[in-house]
Symmetry: C2
Subunit: 176 residues, 2 copies
DNA sequence: ACCTGAACACCGTTCAAGT
DNA sequence: ACCTGAACACCGTTCAAGT
């Protein structure tokens, strides 16, 4: 018996997010519409409104998923190189670059800041803050190990993040 | 005699860009449509196609204008504090922050990298590169004056830019 | 060259209705 | 609770036509 095509009792909400990520990877940000997402999930074009207030809310959920992906990648390499903060920093940066290169549209919509997410999407805020806190933790461990100079770790973490992001942006714009 | 409302022999192209910037400041990115831009410029909704291949091209022009605004602001403060690179750096950063805060939507659409501009918009590429070159020049002057540590100036410029951008992003997302 | 108006396919969102 | 189908206003883009 084939898997049921309907999400009537399933997890339509996550199916819609997955469909959105899939569309982003295939057709970019321009191809992302609520109606296409619904169609790909096998439901009518109004069904998403049972789970998301509007398109912005779906985009916020997709962005939250993007941050989770980033968090998990950095976290995985941090665990792998436990006790070696310099390596954790460089591998974390590499995870960031890999996400950007392997799924540019998902990366961009997650980190662009173009969509107004800050107001009504606490899950997005929380996931982005967890990611930043993880980077700050690695920065602090690097400071203790004398890999990075002393100073305010939050400021240095913003600098590290910004430096990596700047590089990735140059790569994505083909200027490097 | 009031100024003619028609751009039949005027500069519709720039009028459309101005209208776009105006709409961005009033209604944000969600409010930016070709039809609204045309209406605000006082022409039919198909007139923009005489000057822009599509909506992306108009957005690229608006983004180019954003980079020019950034370039001119940083350039103005660089001239004002000629011979004081430390001051040039801090005032240039302040100009960046001011642009972001005074016109968040224009700033975001310019610097988000969400739109695919790199391919067919050489004016955009050129203006963004000029802005980056200016920052790099200030960084090099700071290095000569021992305000910044020695090292590859392009890399340090990316870091400086990224640090400022990271701060601005935190401010715009109300996380600071 | 520059602009118009009709037309097409597509979109976000609402709403009454069905299970 | 979860989903459907019709409906509405709006959008990007094309095209034949007008000056």
């Amino acid at each position: 018996m084939p898997r049921k095509k309907t999400y009537h009792h399933g997890d339509l909400k996550n199916a819609l997010i997955e469909a959105g990520v899939d569309i982003l990877s295939k057709d970019g940000i321009g191809g992302l519409s609520l109606r296409r997402v619904a169609q790909q999930a096998g439901v009518s074009h109004t069904a998403p409104y049972a789970h998301f207030a509007n398109k912005q809310a779906l985009i916020a959920a997709i962005s939250t998923d993007g941050y989770r992906r980033l968090y998990e990648a950095i976290s995985a390499s941090a665990q792998q190189y436990e006790g070696d903060p310099a390596r954790q920093l460089v591998e974390g940066a590499w995870a960031y670059v890999q996400f950007a290169l392997s799924d540019a549209a998902h990366f961009k919509i997650t980190l662009s800041g173009v969509v107004e997410k800050e107001k009504d999407y606490p899950a997005f805020i929380e996931m982005s803050q967890r990611s930043f806190a993880l980077v700050m933790q690695i920065v602090e461990d690097c400071q203790k190990a004398k890999v990075l100079k002393r100073g305010p770790s939050d400021l240095i973490a913003v600098g590290v993040w910004g430096l990596i992001h700047g590089f990735v942006s140059l790569i994505l714009e083909d200027q490097i």
